[in-house]
Each structure stands twice: as structure tokens, then as C-alpha cells.
């Protein structure tokens, strides 16, 4: 809401990857409006804590609903919104620290439920807002402000984690390609189940990986980014594992399982089994 609200004083650093992700989400919401006719306020954006979470305040144009909550809890908040109001489109925006570290405990249950929310994770491999501490995706051995002698944990591969936990739609993208990213986000929104769009969104201040991702021919750096070939079969988990194990930054849809019911679908089948009784009838069970 930055353009409309001079009081709001948060700014991303110039060149921050999150600008591109914001653009992508704006595109995706507009695409959805055009596809479905549902207004922007049909979207609820649940934001984590950190630089990336501020995206919910920085969206331009027509405003969606938003929740900017507490650190690490975007997924269960989003689940609550979606379970209460399945007709809403629920989007999570969070960073690698929020989502994979403090919030890591919520990924497995949400994947098992196949809750129909779309999570856009901005991975910059560092805690930016607290000034450069190591995160789960920081490379092992890296010296950061909180690892003065080098990080002593293996870095996490989020794509492999999502596959292992059973997320039913997994895409990978780069903040420098907002149009491509918007397409991946839209596909996630349209997918009836849990969707993860994991985005490399570099932190220009504490972990600038732009050059590594895009490559630099002059300096002989090959790009880490590569497009997932069209022949990749995203319905095959085996193919998805093989793909993510190739390393680098694949762009595209890695895995998509359309055979599972979403949480909302399973709620429907439970509902049809439950007996419907009024409060008076419920009290009758205790009457004597």
C-alpha cells in the first residue's frame, strides 16, 4: 500500500529480489481476476515476518485482504482462513527463515492435509531484516553475522523437502522473471491442493546471488538457472527427485499430483457422514 500510504515507512533495499516477487503476485492476482471474475479482495495474503512478509503492505493497485501475523505461522493461519471460507483464494508469502526454520513444523501436516493454499517462498539464504544471520538454506561453511567461524549445518534443499513431505504442487522460480513466476503462481492457485512456489529472491545486502543465478560470461560464471525441459513429467515423483538432484536453480513445475483430494475435498466427505442435530437435539442426549 506504499503509494497510498505515506505513513508506512518500510522499504526494501534497491535491487531486492522481493520486488520481482511482488510484481509476480500482482500479475497472478490480476490474471486470476481475469480468469474467474472474482475481485482482488477474494484473495487473502498471509504474510510471514521478515523482509519478505512486508510484501503484503507493498502490493500496488487493488488491494487483497492480508494478515501480517507472527513469525513462522503463516501455514496454520492460512489453513484456518481456507477451512472457514473455502471460496477465498489463500496465498502465503514468507521467507526461508520464517517458513523453513521457525515455521518448518507446519509444512508436513499441511502437506498431509493437502490444504488448498498457495505458498510463495522468497529464499535469499539469509535472515535479512535482522541483518544477515544464517538460515536453513545458507550454504554450509558460510560466514555470516551469526556464524563467525562458518555455518556448521548442512544446508537444506527445500525442493527435496517438499517432495518428501508430499506437497502436491511444487514449482521453482526466480524473482528476476516475474512473468514466468506469475504463471507458476497462477498454476498453483488453480491447483486443488497445497502448492509451493519456491523462489530464489536474492538479498542484495547480505547474500547477493544474482550473478550466481544469472551467470556472468565475462567472469566465466555459468548460470545456476536452467529451464525445466518440456519433456519433464511433473506427475512422476521419481522424475521430480531426479530433476531436483541435478542442482542449480530449475525454473518451472517440478511436481504436480492431481489425483489427491484437497483438505476441503476431504472435509466434504466427512461432512456427509456427520449427523446434523440442533442444539436442542444435542441437549436431549443429556436429558433424563
Amino acid at each position: 500500500m506504499s503509494k497510498k500510504n505515506p505513513e508506512y515507512d518500510f522499504k526494501w533495499c534497491p535491487g531486492c529480489g522481493d520486488f520481482g516477487v511482488r510484481r509476480a503476485l500482482e500479475f497472478a492476482m490480476i490474471n486470476r481476476l481475469e480468469e474467474t471474475g472474482l475481485p482482488i479482495e477474494n484473495n487473502v495474503v498471509v504474510a510471514g515476518i521478515g523482509c519478505s512478509g512486508n510484501l503484503v503492505h507493498l502490493l500496488e493497485g487493488e488491494q487483497p485482504y492480508g494478515i501480517h501475523g507472527i513469525h513462522g505461522r503463516t501455514l496454520p493461519v492460512a489453513m484456518g482462513v481456507k477451512m472457514a471460507r473455502p471460496e477465498l483464494n489463500v496465498v502465503v508469502v514468507a521467507g526461508d527463515g520464517d517458513f523453513l526454520s521457525i515455521g518448518g513444523e507446519h509444512i508436513a501436516p499441511q502437506a498431509a492435509r493437502n490444504v488448498n493454499v498457495t505458498a510463495v517462498i522468497m529464499d535469499n539464504g539469509v535472515y535479512g531484516l535482522t541483518k544477515g544471520q544464517s538460515s536453513p538454506t545458507t550454504e554450509m561453511g558460510t560466514i555470516t553475522s551469526s556464524t563467525p567461524f562458518g555455518k556448521i549445518e548442512e544446508d537444506l534443499d527445500p525442493l527435496e523437502l517438499y517432495l518428501t513431505l508430499g506437497v502436491s504442487y511444487i514449482a521453482s522460480g526466480f524473482s528476476g522473471q516475474p512473468r514466468v513466476l506469475a504463471r507458476l503462481i497462477n498454476e498453483g492457485m488453480n491447483h486443488d491442493g497445497m502448492s509451493m512456489i519456491h523462489v530464489q529472491s536474492p538479498c542484495v545486502t547480505y547474500n547477493d546471488t544474482f550473478q550466481l543465478i544469472k551467470g556472468n560470461a565475462k567472469e566465466g560464471i555459468a548460470p545456476a538457472l536452467w529451464d525445466i525441459p518440456e519433456e519433464h513429467d511433473p506427475s512422476s515423483k521419481q522424475a521430480a527427485y531426479e530433476l531436483v538432484q541435478q542442482g542449480g536453480l530449475p525454473v518451472g513445475v517440478i511436481y504436480k499430483d492431481e489425483t489427491r483430494l484437497s483438505l476441503e475435498g476431504n472435509m466434504g466427505s466427512i461432512r456427509s457422514k456427520a449427523r446434523q442435530r440442533s442444539v436442542e437435539q444435542l441437549m436431549d442426549a443429556y436429558a433424563f
Partner: protein, 569 residues
């Protein structure tokens, strides 16, 4: 001798029928018009472990499970050894002769399992016990038969067989008790109430109340002694537009109901102390972002894992101030099974009325207590709805210093519900003027929850007695006993602990001394009253068990005498 009151304690090992016997006796008695109240305590394990339940049968409405045990039913020797000294003078001990023998002159043996088997119904052991107990107080056999008929007539092919074996089991118990020669007296005939009744537990009353109040989303995580609310909701709150669900932790429970509350549903969870600790940050978010939700804390003993299956009132400070920063949660603490129903309705009403979190504090002793209550007349229990925003876009959700309409996602008025300090649109800000405005706004809304009604009695006395929550029952009985002795003392009680009804606060301030019996070490409510500039002093107990009326009478007299001494000095 005509008895108006009959207290039986059943003790043994989990699985021996300790609970079913007590609840059976309570149900048989209420069926014919007595009042009944049970108290249960369980071991924190699935099989075995020492357990006991107490049932109090009375011709009048009862407030506590009683501390004069008339009969002890000891299912094993350990139970006898643990509980024998609680049996009053002239009381009787029935021991399970299938398990052990003994020579206590107050006792007689009852081969409960052997007698049950002889009827062809191995599951009728508790009926043998109930029959024997009925004989001790000369409760007519037809009362028992009516109960068996009502309980087991379910339209099954073998109904007759089951009913006759249960009646036979009762007859055998009765016969054995008669042969023992023990008699306690004659239980006075009941005065059946002229209104409809329910027989239920505190947790069931909370679930019913919340459902009446319109809760449509429930998320919970299993924890003693709150689990039964989750199970009830999963069976009864699932349907069109409503759902109840077990999530993966208390952190998920609070954040999920927060999401649902934001999305427009009346939402609730129930937990116990450890869950309250985990919900702390989520409660702060609900307070900050102004999202209605209800958290039920069925207190057990603490801290940490503490005493999961015992009762205590030690979460009050934790519930009032669960989160960091300037927060003070609205608290409703019912004091009986009946109040559990009305308290739950009001907790949901409050959450919607002031748009924020409300904590309903119950206790293990009420959660698992079975009690007969007047059936609520739902047409007289108002249900409140949230003030919702109905204008166009560009709305400033957090404008002003008071409550403002809440937009519904999907419709106009999009805003960010923000846990960071925010401006009127919900965007993050660090301006001092905004933090002042929003802090005052959040606290000002509490005024909407100030109620007028509270209990009071003999209000001209200078010293008052004021319990809270589940201690209400035994403290009221102690109060009645003190008044009967001619002691000049006032009575005050409310389930609205925060905000406290202002008139009540003013009355309490005018007292020389307010004595607060409560089940914790620190005297938590007495301390809160001191915040309110009330001269309060606690009577504390931290045994994991409820108060005994006789102990309270002694302690109140002691404190009153000390106060008089001090006044003289």
C-alpha cells in the same frame, strides 16, 4: 435417621468400574429426583493406576462433592488403605471380596464380580455395588429399576435380558448389604424438580454453550483435561459451514482459529496449561490485530507437565497476561457445570462484541464432574453477532479509539490484520502517536465487556468471602455454614474476572477485608484484587484436589479472628 445427603467414594484401579459405579449411582438418583454431583480424579495412564471418584446424592441442589464420606467402596486393598481414614464416624466400608479380605469392623465384603457373573452379565458389577449402596440408605428398589429401565431400554433384541440381569445384580448387592447388618439411615425422599434437567459434565456444557453461541470453527489438540471438548466438537460440529478438527499442535490450533476468526467465523479452541503457554504469541496477535476468538483453558496442576489429571486454579495470571507486551485478556471463569454452559455462550459473545480473544477458564474438577442442571431455555440465552463492515473499498479498519466494524474477506474493505503496530489501514508503523492511539483503542474496547450482574449476600458485613471458578461450590457451602453459626460475613461471586463488573469492584473496595480461597500457591485472584485496590487475602491450597468445606470454615474463622486482633492492636 433421615438423611438429606449421601456421599460415596469409589476407589480402586483404573478399569475396575470406579467411574461407572459413581456415575451410575448419580444417574440412578437424579432419575428419581435427587440432585447429584460427582468428582473424579484419574491416573495419567491408560491401564490401571490408583483412581477414585466421589458421588454425592442430595435432596437439595449441591455445590460440592462433599467432604464427609459416608461410604467407601474399596475395589482393592490399596484403595482401602489410602481412603479409609476419610470415612466419617459411623460410616461404612464396602470392600471387593473378590480381590481381598480384611477385618475393619466398619466393613463388609461384596464379591462384586462373582455376583455379577452369577447373573450371566459380567458387566453388571457396578450394579451390584449400586444395589448394596441403595440398601445402606434404604433407597427403594423401584427407583433403581426405573433407572435400569431408562438406561438399558434401547430397542435391542436382548434389552429384556440385559435389564433383568442388571436388576438381578442390584438385588444381589442389596441382599448382601442387608445380610451385613450395616445401615446408615434412611435417605429422605427426593423432591423432584418441576423443571426439565440435563445430566452432564462441565466440558460437555462448554461444548453445548459454544455451539448455541454459534461457534462454527473449532481446532484443537489433545490434552488432558480438555480433550473431551475436541472429541465432542468433532462429532457434533461438523456440517454445512461448520467444522471441528484436530490440528498438529496448540500453535496450529490458535493460529488456525485466528485465521478462521479473521475470515468471519466464530472460532474456538480448548486446551490446558501447557497449551496456553504455546498459544501465548497467537493470543497476543489476536489482541493486536483485533480478531475474535475463544480459548478454553481447562486448568490442571502446573507448571510444565505438572499434574495432568488433577485440579488447580493456577493459570489465572497466565491467562490474564499470556503474551508479551501490553495485553490483558478478558476472562470468564465458570464456577459450576451450569455456569460452564452460560460462561461459554458469553465468552463467544464477548469475543464478537469487542473483536478480540477471550479466555474461558474451567478446571479439571468441573470438566470431569457429572452434575444435574436445569435444562437451559435457549430462547432466553442471547447470542451476539459481530459488527461487520458494509461500506466500499478504501476502508480504514483501525480508525479511531474505539471499536469499528470488521470487514469480511471476499467483500469490500480489504485491509491487513497486522500483528506489528499499525496505522488505521493496518500498515506497519513506528510512530509514537500511532502506538498511543492503538494501545488505547485496544484497551478501551474492554469497557464493552463490563457486565452488571454478580452474586452478593449479606452485603453490609465488613468482611467478605469471594471465591472464583470451581472453588465456588465448596466456598459457598462453607459460607452457608458460617452464616448458620451466626458469623457476619458477606458473599461475592462473579464468573466475569476481567473485566470485573465495576459495581462489584466498588463494593469490594469498601470492605475491610476480602477473603479469597483459591487453589494455587500465590493467591492469584487475591493479588489481582489488590491491583484493583481491594484489601484481599487468600486462602491457598495446592494439593491437586478441591477444597474441603470443613477446612475452609476453620480457615475463614482464623483469618477473621486475626483481622479482629489486628484491628484492636
Amino acid at each position: 435417621m433421615l438423611m438429606n445427603d449421601f456421599v460415596v467414594r469409589f476407589a480402586g484401579e483404573g478399569g475396575q468400574g470406579v467411574v461407572t459405579s459413581a456415575e451410575g449411582l448419580a444417574q440412578a438418583s437424579t432419575q428419581v429426583g435427587y440432585h447429584a454431583l460427582t468428582y473424579a480424579t484419574f491416573p495419567s495412564q491408560i491401564l490401571g493406576g490408583p483412581t477414585w471418584t466421589q458421588a454425592r446424592i442430595s435432596t437439595e441442589h449441591t455445590l460440592s462433592s462433599g467432604d464427609q464420606v459416608d461410604v467407601l467402596v474399596a475395589f482393592n486393598e490399596e484403595a482401602y488403605e489410602t481412603h479409609a481414614e476419610e470415612v466419617r464416624e459411623g460410616g461404612v466400608i464396602i470392600y471387593n471380596a473378590d480381590d481381598f479380605t480384611m477385618t475393619d469392623p466398619r466393613s463388609f465384603g461384596l464379591a462384586v464380580d462373582t455376583l455379577a457373573r452369577s447373573t450371566g452379565n459380567n458387566r453388571a458389577a457396578n450394579m451390584v455395588v449400586i444395589g448394596a449402596l441403595a440398601q445402606l440408605v434404604h433407597m427403594p428398589q423401584e427407583y433403581l429399576e426405573d433407572f435400569v429401565e431408562a438406561r438399558f431400554r434401547r430397542g435391542r433384541d436382548n434389552d429384556d435380558e440385559i435389564i433383568s440381569s442388571n436388576i438381578e445384580a442390584m438385588r444381589l448387592g442389596r441382599q448382601n448389604a442387608a445380610e451385613s447388618g450395616f445401615v446408615l439411615g434412611d435417605l429422605a425422599p427426593p423432591h423432584p424438580p418441576d423443571y426439565q434437567q440435563l445430566m452432564l459434565k462441565g466440558n460437555e456444557a462448554i461444548a453445548l454453550g459454544a455451539t448455541h453461541a454459534g461457534v462454527e470453527f473449532y481446532a484443537g489438540y489433545p490434552i488432558s483435561p480438555a480433550t473431551t471438548i475436541l472429541l465432542w466438537m468433532e462429532r457434533n460440529l461438523v456440517g454445512e459451514n461448520k467444522f471441528a478438527y484436530q490440528v498438529s499442535s496448540e500453535i496450529e490450533a490458535i493460529t488456525a482459529i485466528l485465521g478462521a476468526g479473521y475470515a468471519g467465523k466464530k472460532s474456538m479452541t480448548a486446551t490446558a496449561g501447557p497449551g496456553i503457554s504455546l498459544m501465548s504469541e497467537g493470543l497476543g496477535l489476536a489482541w493486536m490485530a483485533e480478531i475474535p476468538l475463544v480459548v478454553v483453558d481447562v486448568q490442571r496442576g502446573g507448571p510444565a507437565t505438572g499434574l495432568p489429571t488433577k485440579t488447580e486454579q493456577s493459570d489465572l495470571m497466565g491467562c490474564l497476561f499470556p503474551a508479551h507486551g501490553d495485553v490483558r485478556m478478558p476472562i470468564i471463569a465458570p464456577g459450576s457445570v451450569e455456569e460452564c454452559f452460560y460462561g461459554a455462550v458469553q465468552a463467544v459473545n464477548w469475543a464478537e462484541r469487542y473483536q478480540g480473544p477471550v479466555i474461558l477458564m474451567s478446571e479439571m474438577s468441573m470438566a470431569e464432574r457429572v452434575q444435574n442442571i436445569p435444562r437451559p431455555d435457549l430462547s432466553k440465552v442471547p447470542v451476539e453477532e459481530r459488527l461487520t463492515y458494509e461500506g466500499g473499498n478504501g476502508y480504514h479498519r483501525y480508525s479511531g479509539n474505539e471499536l469499528s466494524p470488521m470487514p469480511l474477506p471476499g467483500g469490500p474493505g480489504a485491509y491487513v490484520a497486522n500483528g506489528s503496530e499499525h496505522d488505521e489501514m493496518g500498515d506497519t508503523t513506528h510512530l509514537p502517536s500511532r502506538h498511543i492511539q492503538m494501545t488505547e483503542r485496544r484497551f478501551s474496547k474492554l469497557k464493552l465487556l463490563e457486565e452488571d450482574h454478580y452474586e452478593s449476600d449479606n452485603t453490609q458485613a465488613k468482611i467478605a468471602l469471594m471465591p472464583w471458578g470451581g472453588s465456588k461450590g465448596p466456598v459457598r457451602e462453607a459460607y452457608d455454614a458460617l452464616r448458620e453459626e451466626g458469623i457476619d460475613i458477606a458473599w461475592y461471586y462473579t464468573m466475569f474476572l476481567h473485566p470485573i463488573p465495576p459495581k462489584l469492584r466498588d463494593e469490594l473496595r469498601a470492605k475491610e477485608l476480602v477473603i479469597v480461597p483459591e487453589l494455587n500457591y500465590q493467591g492469584q485472584w487475591a493479588n489481582i484484587l489488590r491491583f484493583h485496590r481491594v484489601n484481599s487475602t487468600p486462602i491457598t491450597q495446592y494439593t491437586g484436589l478441591p477444597f474441603k468445606v470443613s477446612d475452609l470454615v476453620v480457615q475463614v474463622k482464623r483469618i477473621m479472628a486475626e483481622h479482629t486482633e489486628e484491628a484492636r492492636a
